[in-house]
């Protein structure tokens, strides 16, 4: 006598949605992440680990700020700029935020046009994203220069208040800036690959030797959006708090 367990046949191409799908995906042999290319899953797992790194930075920032009996410098004033004789608080950081969000938007569209196999538009959008990213790094270099030379802020102390302000600032924004810089390099490499038609003609990559495809643009995009995501948290906790 047979006991029917599931109504969906074992090798059915139909995937169950919702919680039932969650159970069947995780109990499946061969692979659990259906419809996800392996490169994308690996990028997401890397991003989870990077999430923990940035979280640890922000948590140590919380810990040193809460435990310092000295007053914390007012970031609204530290990062203010005088433009055309008008004193605007935190304006540089606001501009950097808008630039990074815009670059995230152009990146999302680059991914979309990539899947449409529109080589030209994808290339242009990737270059715009890279350009916005590079201008972000440029503004950060300006910010660092101003803080070091004009405000006298050092990793071991500053004239404005708690000494930990400098160490947190240089470590957190430094790590984020490094991520942005790496992202710009990645974007330029992949823009070149798109322009040369490597992805369209499925030419093997120089590092892995696997054949190219437009899903790599989505994977680079995931990294770029993550850089924007981290900035959302840094902006909220370091600059606005």
């Amino acid at each position: 006598m047979s006991h029917p367990v599931s109504t969906i046949p074992l090798h059915s191409p139909v995937l169950e949605p919702g919680v039932k799908g969650l159970v069947s995906d995780w109990s499946a042999d061969q692979q659990s992440f259906k419809k996800v290319p392996w490169g994308k899953a690996m990028m997401w797992i890397f991003l989870v680990s990077d999430t923990f790194i940035f979280s640890i930075f922000l948590i140590s920032y919380m810990t040193v700020r809460m435990s310092s009996p000295e007053s914390w410098p007012n970031s609204s004033e530290v990062f203010a700029l005088t433009i055309g004789g008008k004193h605007i608080p935190l304006i540089l950081i606001a501009l950097m935020t808008f630039i990074l969000i815009t670059s995230s938007g152009t990146m999302a569209m680059a991914v979309n046009y990539g899947y449409r196999k529109d080589r030209r538009t994808t290339f242009v959008l990737l270059m715009i994203t890279a350009l916005l990213g590079a201008s972000f790094v440029g503004m950060q270099a300006f910010e660092w220069t101003k803080l070091i030379t004009e405000e006298g802020i050092r990793p071991w102390g500053n004239p404005l208040g708690a000494a930990q302000f400098g160490s947190v600032f240089f470590m957190v924004t430094g790590f984020h800036g490094t991520h942005v810089s790496i992202g710009v390099i990645l974007l330029l490499i992949f823009a070149f690959k798109v322009w040369r038609g490597d992805l369209e003609h499925e030419r093997p990559g120089f590092l892995t030797g696997r054949k190219g495809g437009y899903e790599t643009i989505e994977i680079v995009g995931l990294y770029w959006h993550f850089v924007d995501l981290v900035w959302v948290f840094i902006f909220a906790f370091f600059y606005l708090w």
Binding site: F98, A236, L240
Partner: protein, 108 residues
């Protein structure tokens, strides 16, 4: 990978989310600009931050179109960070207390 499927969505949704992110960023900048203070400031900052982060992950990073097995595998582990935050806050309170007692006598 035969089962891999492209994430293809209309371009309009990206533009709408982009606009929304701009509005939310402006709102969080306004919190600072108009010197909102205290609990209102902190809760507004956190609300705008979480909305922005959610939109980026859900739409720009395509998470809302993935299968539940993948969403849970990626988004649940970072919840452990809440525990780290709790431990960090406890430790910071204790350090602040001892510093106040030994370095700043009279501050308490």
């Amino acid at each position: 990978m035969s089962e891999a499927q492209n994430q293809q969505h209309p371009i309009g949704i990206y533009l709408k989310i982009w606009l929304l992110l701009f509005v939310l960023s402006t709102a969080s900048y306004m919190v600072d600009y108009f010197h909102v203070q205290g609990y209102l400031r902190w809760s507004l900052i956190i609300v705008f931050m979480l909305l922005k982060a959610g939109l980026i992950v859900a739409v720009f990073m395509h998470m809302m179109w993935e299968r539940l097995a993948f969403i849970y595998a990626i988004l649940l582990p970072p919840l452990l960070i809440l525990t780290f935050i709790g431990i960090g806050a406890l430790e910071a309170d204790y350090t602040f207390l001892t510093r106040s007692i030994f370095f700043l006598k009279g501050a308490l």
